[in-house]
C-alpha cells in the first residue's frame, strides 16, 4: 500500500500539499521551498516522487541532473545546508559513473551501485511517515486532558525517622549527665529481663490474674528464654509491681499486677 506523501511546506502561512510543477518559483518563496527540505535524502525523495521515478530502479542520470539543479539554486541563495547536499552530489555522481562501467557477466543484486542509496532512501521515507504518524497522535496537553480536580491540601506529616544510633546516642547522653556510668551498666541479659518485665505486665493488664505456669510456654521457648522470663517475674516482685499469691502449699501460684483489684 502506497502512502501519500505530504510535503507540509508553508509559504506565507499557507500549507502547500505539493510544489508547483514548473520550474519557475517566485523569488521570495524560493528560499522557503528549499529550506523546507530536511536534507539531501528529503530532496531526493521529493524528486523521485515528483517525476514518478521507480525507487527500485532509479535512472541515475536523470535524478542526478535534477538534484544538481536544486543544489545550484541553493548555492545562489547561499543556504547554509550546502555541505550535506554537496556530499550527496558526489555520491550520486559516483553511482552514476559506476553504472556506466561494463557489467560483469553475473551481477548479484547487492552489487548494484544504487543499492545503498535505495536502502537509505527507503529507510528515511519510513521515518518521515513514522514522524507524521507520531505528530498526528493525540497528545497530553493538546488533545488529551487529564483530570485535575482540586483538593484541600493537608500537610500529611511523616513522623521523623529514628535510627538505632540516634537512640543509643540519646541514652549515652542521659547516662553521662546522670553520672550513672560508674555504678550502673546494662548488659544484654538485663535488657532481656526488662523487656520480659514489660511483656508480663502487659499480659497481666489484659488478663488480670494469671496462673504462674501459664506464663511459661515450655514447649516453644528455649531454656534461656524461660530463665529470663523467671528473672523478670522476680524483678517485678522485687520492685513491687506484681503480687504473687498461693492459697496453700503445692496449690497453683497466681500472679496479678499490683493494681489489679483497684482498677
Amino acid at each position: 500500500m502506497q502512502t501519500q506523501l505530504t510535503l507540509g511546506i508553508r509559504v506565507h502561512g499557507e500549507t502547500l500539499s505539493e510544489l508547483p510543477q514548473d520550474l519557475y518559483i517566485p523569488p521570495d518563496a524560493l528560499e522557503v521551498y528549499l529550506e523546507a527540505f530536511e536534507g539531501p535524502l528529503d530532496l531526493l525523495l521529493y524528486l523521485i516522487r515528483k517525476h514518478n521515478l521507480d525507487i527500485l530502479d532509479i535512472p541515475m542520470a536523470q535524478l542526478t541532473a535534477q538534484y544538481m539543479e536544486y543544489v545550484e539554486k541553493m548555492k545562489v541563495i547561499k543556504l547554509e545546508l550546502a555541505a550535506d547536499y554537496l556530499l550527496m552530489s558526489a555520491m550520486l555522481i559516483e553511482i552514476k559513473s559506476r553504472m556506466l562501467l561494463p557489467k560483469p557477466v553475473e551481477v548479484a543484486e547487492e552489487d548494484d551501485p544504487r543499492a545503498e542509496l535505495v536502502r537509505r532512501l527507503m529507510e528515511y521515507e519510513a521515518i518521515k511517515l513514522a514522524a507524521q504518524r507520531l505528530d498526528a497522535m493525540p497528545q497530553v496537553g493538546t488533545e488529551i486532558q487529564v483530570a485535575a480536580a482540586y483538593y484541600q491540601h493537608i500537610a500529611e506529616v511523616k513522623p521523623p525517622e529514628v535510627s538505632l544510633d540516634e537512640l543509643v546516642e540519646a541514652w549515652r547522653n542521659v547516662l553521662k549527665r546522670a553520672k550513672l556510668t560508674t555504678h550502673h551498666k546494662i548488659g544484654k541479659a538485663e535488657l532481656s529481663v526488662r523487656e520480659h518485665m514489660s511483656l508480663i505486665l502487659r499480659r497481666l493488664k489484659a488478663d488480670g490474674m494469671v496462673e504462674f505456669s501459664a506464663l511459661f510456654d515450655v514447649v516453644t521457648e528455649g531454656l534461656p528464654k524461660l530463665v529470663v522470663h523467671f528473672l523478670a517475674i522476680l524483678e517485678l516482685a522485687k520492685e513491687g509491681l506484681i503480687r504473687i499469691t498461693q492459697q496453700q502449699a503445692f496449690s497453683p501460684i497466681y500472679l496479678q499486677a499490683n493494681n489489679a483489684d483497684s482498677s
Binding site: Q145, V146, A147, A148, A149, Y150, Y151, Q152, H153, I154, A155, E156, V157, K158, P159, P160, E161, V162, S163, L164, E166, L167, V168, E169, A170, W171, R172, N173, V174, L175, R177, A178, L180, T181, K185, I186, G187, K188, A189, E190, L191, S192, R194, E195, M197, S198, L201, R202, L204, K205, E239, G240, L241, A257, N258, N259, S262, S263
Partner: protein
Amino acid sequence: MIEPDNISQMKQILEAALLTAGQPLSLDDLLKLFAGRMERTTLRMLLDELKQDWAQENTAKTLELVRVATGYRFQAKPQFSEFIARLSPEKQPKYSRAVMETLAIIAYRQPVTRGDIEQIRGVAVNPNVMRQLQERDWIDVVGQREVPGRPSLYATTKHFLDDLNLRSLSELPPFEDFAQSEIPLEN
C-alpha cells in the same frame, strides 16, 4: 465537531472541562467552550444543575462542584483530603532531644514511670513528649506502680521494635559496648 444541541450534552462538556481544568474556570472561560452559542443566564442555570447532579446522587460522589472567588471548580470532598495527602507526605524534622532521651530511658529501663524518667534526666517531663511517643505507638502503659498517685508504668511496644528493625530489646546495643568506646584510643 458537532455543537451540542441539548442540555445534557452541554452539561457534559462543562463537566469534562471543569474536571480537567486544574484551576477554577470563570463564566467567561466556560462560555468559550460553546464558541459564543451560549447565554450567560443559561450557563449559570446549567452550572446550578450540574452542581445538583453531583450533590444529590444517591451513589456517593467523591467530588463536589463549588464556586470560589475566581470561578467554578470540582474539588474532592473533605473526607478524602487526608488520604490524598498521603501521596506526598512532608517529612517532619527530627525529634527533640527531650523526646529522644525519654525514649532511650524507656527502652533501656522499662517499665518506668514519669517520675523515674524525671529523676534520671533531672528535669520535668513535658506531657507533650509522652504524647508524641504514644501517638507514634512506640510506648504504652503496661501497668501502675503501687505508690501514692499510682503512676503509670511505660514500656516500649512491638511497633517500636519493628520500626527500629529489632527483633527484641536484647538487640539494642548493650551499655558496655559504648562505655568501652569512651576510652580514648591513644593511651
